[in-house]
């Protein structure tokens, strides 16, 4: 199966590393682009050569070529869209994904932007074209929560989804709780360790978690909710005293996303939880609890970000597309 990768940052590099290290998966790289260059070869490109070139020149391919040329070439079966997130417009990913789906290609993405902006439209386009749109890596990093919802638990009715969806916030709260650090100290530490962006607004104000909650909710219930429907409170107003007061009751505070159409709930907010609660996890981990009619409660926990971890989710999507569509062609 032929793969084109748009974006060669942490995630794109992780995907190329796996393609290089596991040729037995049968995934052949035929196109790759970053913001200033592209490389297309229908006969196949060696992933390691691309990584080396990117490392040396900061370009993965030839100047003057771009993502658009790869899309025009049509020399791929599945597009892997891993450019930066823009939650407002979804661009440039939205254009890339529309183009690929519209010309009958499968798409796998880790980019929340286009899903936040146009999930329903993209799903419809994929259905019309008889191709797949997969986005396991957009929520919970390595955790296969979208697979759990759409495949493993497919016969269930979902009562609610509750989760720790942002590793940066979870790290900050863990440190405030364990070490009595102030919010500012814990944030500074998270930045130093590379767990928080230079501008952490999206994370600490709960917006990143809210976008992921919207993606999960639309996957579960297909109600077409958007970011505007989520009631959002971040963690930036929390005090050490708040964590201490919770600790006095053998509880702690975590940023929790909660969706339940039955209870009219779609919100992200810091919440008090008993320490023994399955969603009380440490550091940058993520977790999602699905409450269902048949399976009862199912909780998935794992690494919410990272180059190789996110690549794991993308590879899973690629192989499930191969099994479902490509082999039986």
């Amino acid at each position: 199966m032929r793969i084109a990768v748009l974006g060669l940052g942490a995630v794109g590099k992780g995907v190329l590393r796996v393609l290089g290290e596991k040729p037995e998966l049968g995934l052949v790289l035929t196109g790759v682009a970053d913001s200033t260059s592209a490389w297309i070869d229908p006969a196949g490109i060696d992933p390691q050569t691309v990584l080396d070139r990117k490392c040396e020149t900061n370009r993965c391919g030839s100047e003057g070529r771009s993502a658009a040329d790869i899309l025009d070439s049509g020399a791929y079966d599945v597009l892997v869209e891993v450019t930066p997130t823009n939650a407002a417009t979804g661009e440039p990913a939205l254009t890339h994904i529309r183009r690929a789906l519209g010309t009958g290609h499968h798409v796998v993405t880790s980019n929340k932007g286009p899903l936040a902006a146009a999930h329903t439209e993209l799903e419809e386009l994929a259905r019309e074209q008889g191709v797949a749109l997969r986005y396991e890596a957009t929520v919970g990093g390595a955790i296969p929560v979208i697979h759990a919802i759409t495949r493993g638990l497919i016969g269930n009715k979902f009562h609610s989804i509750t989760g720790v969806l942002n590793g940066t916030c979870n790290y900050i709260l863990t440190r405030m709780d364990d070490e009595g650090l102030t919010y500012e100290q814990a944030l500074a530490e998270a930045r130093q360790l590379g767990y928080a962006e230079a501008d952490p607004t999206y994370d600490v104000r709960g917006i990143d978690a809210a976008i992921k909650l919207v993606i999960l909710a639309n996957t579960c219930w297909n109600l077409g909710v958007t970011l505007d429907d989520v009631s959002i409170t971040g963690i930036d107003g929390l005090t050490v005293d708040a964590l201490r007061l919770a600790a006095d009751q053998d509880c702690t505070i975590r940023l929790i996303g909660e969706a339940s159409p039955e209870r009219g709930l779609l919100r992200v907010a810091p919440r008090v939880l008993p320490r023994s609660h399955p969603l009380v996890i440490e550091g940058t981990l993520n977790a999602v609890m699905l409450s269902t009619d048949l399976a009862g409660e199912v909780t998935l926990m794992g690494r919410g970000a990272g180059s190789i971890e996110t690549a794991s989710a993308i590879i899973g999507d690629l192989l499930s597309i191969r099994d479902r569509f490509v082999e039986c062609r």
């Binding site: 009562h159 609610s160 509750t162 409170t233 107003g237 929390l238 005090t239 005293d241 708040a242 201490r244 007061l245 919770a246 006095d248 009751q249 509880c251 505070i253 929790i256 909660e258 907010a269 810091p270 919440r271 008090v272 939880l273 008993p274 609660h277 969603l279 609890m289 409450s291 009862g296 409660e297």
Partner: protein, 188 residues
């Protein structure tokens, strides 16, 4: 606002809410030193909160016993055990009065609590007539920094608790305070 000394009524457990009962019981105890204390001890041992102890020397009771009316609050689940223990200790329970359920829920409130008139915040809940602030624990770090409080609300029914919390949320929004609520366990 009532004072709940001796019993920390703050609670986030069990779907964020603990149901206790408000109950009055009339006991008959021997009129000799130490008997009243012996009868009251199990109540505190089971985490009950004694609100009032009223001595009654009624003409019909025999001269060597004493009637005592006790009003207390205790977790609903523990009431039966308490009654059994009292009986086992030879305390005669003449009457077990009306039970009134009490729902309790604690939330954390952060912001300029004092400058936004904490007294008024409490009053707004107490004035509803169906809910009251049972406990308040305010932590003040320093001038001009936001303070943090654990506020425990008491109400008779679940729906009254929900209404009280809605009211608290709207007061918080109006005053620019942050409320951190417990996560309810999913309905099973």
């Amino acid at each position: 606002m009532t004072n709940n000394e001796g019993l920390s009524s703050a609670s986030f457990k069990v779907s964020g809410e603990v149901v206790s009962v408000h109950v009055s019981m009339k006991l008959e105890i021997k009129d000799s030193p130490g008997q009243l204390v012996a009868a009251l001890t199990p109540i505190s041992e089971y985490g009950g909160n004694i609100i009032a102890v009223i001595h009654q020397r009624e003409p019909e009771t025999s001269s060597d016993t004493l009637g005592v009316q006790i009003v207390l609050e205790i977790e609903h689940e523990r009431l039966d055990t308490l009654v059994a223990t009292l009986k086992r200790q030879g305390v005669n329970i003449l009457r077990l009065g009306e039970e009134r359920m009490l729902h309790r829920q604690s939330v954390i409130m952060i912001g300029h609590l004092i400058h936004t008139d904490i007294g008024d915040t409490i009053d707004r809940i107490d004035r509803t007539g169906f809910a009251e602030v049972a406990e308040l624990n305010v932590q003040m770090p320093g001038i001009s920094e936001p303070s943090t409080a654990l506020i425990t609300i008491k109400a008779t029914t679940r729906s009254e608790m929900d209404r009280a919390l809605d009211l608290l949320r709207s007061v918080a929004t109006e005053k620019g305070l942050l409320i951190v609520e417990p996560l309810e366990e999913a309905e099973r």
